[in-house]
Amino acid sequence: MSSGAVVQFGYSRHPDQECPSAAPAHHAVVVVGAGPVGLSLAIDLAQRGQPVVLLDDADRIGEGSRAICFSKRSLEYWDRLGVGARMVDKGVVWNIGRIYHGADQLYQFDLLPEDGHKMPAFINLQQYYAEAYLVDRVAELPGISLRWRNKVTALEQRNDQVVLMVETPEGPYRLAAAYVIACDGARSNLRQMVGADFDGQVFEDQFLIADVKMTAEFPTERWFWFDPPFHAGRSALLHRQPDDIWRIDLQLSPDADPAVERRPENVRPRIARMLGHDDFDFEWISLYKFQCRRMKRFVHGRVVFAGDAAHQVSPFGARGANSGLEDAENLSWKLVRVLDGSSPASLLQSYDIERSFAADENIRESTRSTDFMAPSSPAEARLRQAALALGRDTAFAKRMINGGRLSVPSVYPSPLSTPDGDAWSGGVVPGASLVDAPLATRDGAATYLSDAFAAAGKRFTLLQFANGAAIEPPADVAVIRIGESEPLADRAGLLAKRYDAAPGAAYLLRPDGYVAARFKHPTRAAIDAALARAVGEVWS
């Protein structure tokens, strides 16, 4: 069995290791864990001009494909980090999912039923490719010190800094940081070091994950089966990945013996039954029990937790890696503002509030999906059976059939948001993330709002629908002006439609692309007040 595209990195000694133990090198930010979340966060910080040290206890990536479904929101984020096109080019794009019961299709869903978005609803891409591309991007940027085989073994919180003990092949050294961001995964060492709990629900059912290599002509869609003919009484999931790799998830019974079930000779007949042939090779086999749990708080003094280290979900819904990337996107700009003194340290509490809300939502959704797949009582099994049976020909029951509710960004109930003062019918509410739309430049070239936002510098940005004189924005707030005689035009009218925007309207976007406030007829005073709130100067 091949182990996928393993990339090996070398350990190299850093001058910080020469510092005497009593006077360790001091950095503003140390990120622990060079997975998708830690790498993305480091890139984001570096692009904002914030130098960062990134530590990882391993020196290779590529042990199994692991996370494979990356959401539109993650792709939009990665696009701003300079790796979006590479991910999409390599990835397998999909928008359609199908739900089967037995041999019959119950329904299909389209996760991106409208045009005019730069990014698709999802791509499937092996996590090792995503990580490799992120590592390449890290190398292009000044300001990131990526240190492989640097394992944090102890952590000491002081009032003004955190001191880490770091183990390397050449022995330990100490490292001080104003903030430490723990992106060290579900089994986070740092979480244990701060003594935080990590409570939640463990699911008894086991799931077999197999990546198989084969040439097949299945369409590029997400297929989910309840009680398929090839795997009676349980569920199955099929996803396509690049390089002719297919991800297959099979639900097993709670009492299946993991040691026996993961043997290739026992997995093979299961997969052959599903595919109807035996012409495939294994890339990766793994057996999982799922847990949905989270830390009570993501901010522990000067140590901030992100990704699986902070919260863990079952994989149905692609809410693991994607929510971790949303954490990074949410944290990066806040951390930079706190470090440069333009916002109070309390701004980080909004990370805890917003991302806790998202974690609860992700846990709720993925728990419901997992419960639906593996009912825990006869009564629940009967309700599920009824929904599946009624789902054949009633619309209401189809919508109750839960084969995974796929990751969409949360709408934050946030202290940073200014509640609407005007009457809007739709649009993008404060606390929600930027919705893309097609635009045209003055010379007629096609572009997107997401491109305009990235070009505006990933700062606070005022999206203005031109109507007469422009409002002079506050200092360091970028402006995107939309109109026929402006740099960008909304020729298709989709931007105005998606933002419920008449000429004169304006949206204040945060540096992470979330809406802070919106106005039908903005005044400079209203924008100033919304900005003060969004940067944490005024806590609502």
Partner: protein
């Protein structure tokens, strides 16, 4: 009035979970009593014998589901 089988809940998962949660911790027999009580309460709320008759017909189709497993994945 005719029976609506359109999806009427804004969040159908919430409704499904609410019913599931109502059964949590009940014995199988008690669960069946809860279901029966719930059916009568909802039938009365609908208050239309023709709709109820139609609902019973739709529900009975679930009993002949060819894909129904012999046992749920409990």
């Amino acid at each position: 009035m005719t029976l609506s089988t359109a999806s009427n809940f804004a969040k159908p998962d919430d409704a499904f979970r609410l019913v599931v949660e109502a059964h949590r911790g009940l014995s199988d027999e008690t669960s069946a009593v809860l279901d029966a009580a719930l059916v009568l309460v909802l039938a009365n709320h609908i208050g239309d014998i023709d709709v109820l008759r139609e609902a019973i017909a739709v529900a009975k189709r679930a009993l002949t589901d060819p894909a129904a497993p012999a046992a749920g994945a409990a």
